[in-house]
């Protein structure tokens, strides 16, 4: 079952004197339960592609379809709602909400979705166990290490059981130990909850774990390998 489909996807930035083709005609199909890494050098268009797949950025040309819904047909408000119910995001810089505790951060998206308190609490406890931080649930993010913060960010993205997770360079700020722990966690969740993961990365450790590697260069797919 296809989850994500991009058709002739282009993104051209005109803010510089010479227009830049950040994404140049990408056609992709990503299936449910995939553990996919989008790789390539800096500036190759990984983040731009992820942003367009996540509905954060508009393509200059082409379209993104998720579960048969073309994102370009949704207005701003509906697009936000679509992201809320279908996509989980993990960012390079963790981006937890600093004024919320670990527990509140994990439950944040579920609360936005309007889920009941009991359901939220049960899922938060489940996620805290999964990321191995039940004793940190009442801490604010600034009391956690980078690795712990990123695990909380993953838990936040996964707690609401979205259709898929988009992770932009999730290990870029982590040391080896934290990277391994995070990758193991994501693999476990992918395996146990059949969650679709799409990473952008140039971290070899992540690439080794990925089951599909999509390589980009100059905004084009230069290879697409299933391991």
């Amino acid at each position: 079952m296809n989850v994500i489909e991009t058709t002739n996807l282009h993104k051209i930035y005109n803010s510089t004197q010479v227009p830049v083709n950040a994404v140049d005609g990408i056609d992709l199909t990503i299936e449910k339960g995939e553990f996919t890494a989008i790789v390539g050098p800096s500036g190759c268009g990984k983040t731009t592609l992820l942003n367009m797949i996540g509905g954060l950025d508009d393509p200059t040309k082409g379209r993104v379809t998720i579960n048969k819904v073309a994102l370009n047909t949704l207005n701003q408000s509906k697009l936000i709602d679509f992201r809320l119910h279908n996509i989980g995001f993990v960012f390079q810089a963790y981006n937890l909400i600093p004024v919320l505790t670990v527990k509140e951060n994990i439950g944040f998206i579920m609360q936005l979705q309007g889920r009941g308190k009991n359901e939220c609490n049960a899922r938060i406890d489940e996620m805290l166990e999964a990321i191995g931080l039940p004793d940190k649930k009442d801490q604010r993010p600034n009391k956690l290490s980078g690795g712990q913060q990123q695990r909380v960010a993953v838990a936040r993205a996964l707690a609401s059981k979205p259709q898929f997770i988009l992770a932009d360079e999730p290990t870029a700020n982590l040391d080896s130990k934290a990277t391994n722990e995070l990758l193991e966690l994501m693999e476990k969740l992918n395996r146990e909850e059949n969650m679709t993961f799409i990473f952008s990365t140039h971290d070899d450790r992540v690439m080794k774990k990925a089951r599909r590697l999509i390589s980009l260069d100059d905004g084009k797919v230069i290879s697409d390998v299933t391991v």
């Binding site: 942003n51 996540g54 954060l56 950025d57 701003q76 408000s77 936000i80 709602d81 992201r83 809320l84 119910h85 989980g88 995001f89 960012f91 981006n95 909400i97 600093p98 004024v99 919320l100 944040f108 998206i109 609360q111 936005l112 979705q113 936040r156 993205a157």
Partner: protein, 407 residues
């Protein structure tokens, strides 16, 4: 909603120092504004109250045309039915019948133009506390006492003492010659120098006899139970008395005082407006910094699925908290100060005191203690805060998500 208020509250204390500075600016603005307004309103109340009590009353009834042409011929007959009609109006607490005109006062070779006020001693005293102004001699013995009370400056000018005789000469009703000799019963001292220099009080009966204006009056001065119902009472009396009378409210008669209060009030409000603009920019500065600093965070929240309007609501609540905390703390701090000066008015000296005395007003600076001051100033600052809060609302509704994520 509870979550949004919680996030907003916690956000407020992320940068404690900045929030405290902003809240403090609102606090000091409110404190200053409340003290200023309380002092101004207290002074205006005092000026109105004293001026009304000591001279015109809240409403006066005259013969038609008297106010423009204050002659003894422009008087009206003090009939029982007229008196009853006026005093039976529900809001009228007291009626002072007066006969006022001008005369030449003379002793030996000294002559001076004076104002004569004929009144009923007991009623006059119950309202204007005229007896308390007697600094030498005595107050009128009864309503038919034929002695006079005169201002101390006038007595000094005419070289008169208690028991001396003053000669008064004037024009009486319908061209009669008014002339008479009157013993000086007492010397009065008023705060207003002009009153000391030219006023002579006599009983109404004596004045009516002197001016050959039997049973005639120049005015009924009306005191009211509830001054807030002035307009309604005016209307009722005006409708009830007919066209041969003119009914005037105190502010029509004391135009100068009214204008002085109004101009002072406007300049006070102008000062407050400047203060509020400064405070509004202070809050705006904080909001501006807060909005720019948190652009990335806002972007993340929108990216993960928070609607822009919900985010705007959080920032809006934060701004409200700042305004509300400033207003509340300012009101709490100003209340005991205002209450103290409400109970213990500041005595005035020098030019300020002289200016007040010229309007026959006590030279003190009283503070008003009313909920209106707190509500008005609080509301103004909260409204300003709401206006300032429009900026982050506008900003959040339109900022670019990708540039926010990259910031």
């Amino acid at each position: 909603m509870r979550n949004y208020t919680k996030i907003a509250w916690r956000n407020l204390w992320r940068n404690k120092r900045r929030s405290m500075i902003t809240i403090s600016s609102v606090f000091f603005a409110i404190l200053l504004a409340m003290l200023m307004r309380s002092m101004q309103n207290g002074t205006y109340d005092l000026m109105e109250r004293d001026a009304i009590r000591n001279s015109t009353g809240f409403i006066q009834v005259h013969a038609k045309g008297y106010w423009e042409d204050k002659t003894i011929d422009n008087t009206f007959e003090n009939t029982k039915s007229l008196s009853q009609k006026v005093s039976s109006e529900q809001n009228v607490s007291q009626v002072i019948p007066r006969l006022e005109s001008f005369a030449l006062a003379s002793t030996g070779k000294i002559t001076k133009g004076v104002g004569i006020v004929g009144t009923i001693p007991a009623i006059e005293n119950s309202i204007t506390k005229l007896e308390s102004r007697v600094v030498e001699g005595k107050y009128f013995l009864n309503k038919n006492d034929n002695g006079v009370l005169l201002g101390d400056a006038l007595a000094k000018y005419l070289k008169l003492g208690i028991g001396d005789t003053i000669v008064l000469l004037s024009q009486g009703f319908h061209g009669f010659t008014a002339a008479g000799e009157y013993p000086v019963r007492g010397i009065l001292h008023f705060p207003a120098p002009e009153m000391n220099k030219q006023l002579i009080y006599m009983t109404l009966a004596t004045a009516q006899y002197f001016f050959a204006a039997d049973n005639r009056l120049t005015s009924y001065s009306l005191m009211l139970e509830n001054p807030d119902k002035l307009d309604k009472t005016y209307q009722t009396i005006n409708d009830g008395l007919g066209k041969q009378y003119e009914i005037m409210t105190w502010d029509e008669m004391m135009v100068e005082l009214k204008q002085q209060i109004e101009s002072d009030n406007i300049s006070g409000m102008f000062m407050l407006a400047i203060l509020y603009v400064v405070v509004a920019f202070g809050i705006f500065g904080t909001i501006l910094m807060m909005t720019f600093e948190r652009k990335r965070e806002f972007s993340i929240m929108i990216a993960v699925g928070m609607q822009r309007y919900k985010l705007a609501l959080i920032v809006f609540i934060e701004t409200l908290y700042m305004g509300f905390l400033g207003v509340l703390s300012g009101a709490i701090a100003s209340t005991p100060i205002i209450y103290y000066f409400y109970k213990n008015p500041i005595p005035l000296t020098g030019e300020m005191a002289t200016a007040m005395e010229e309007f026959n007003v006590q030279p003190i600076l009283p503070f008003a203690f009313s909920a209106e001051i707190f509500l008005n100033q609080g509301l103004i600052v909260l409204i300003l805060t709401l206006i300032v809060a429009l900026y982050p609302l506008a900003n959040i509704s339109k900022f670019n998500l990708i540039s926010g994520l990259r910031s």
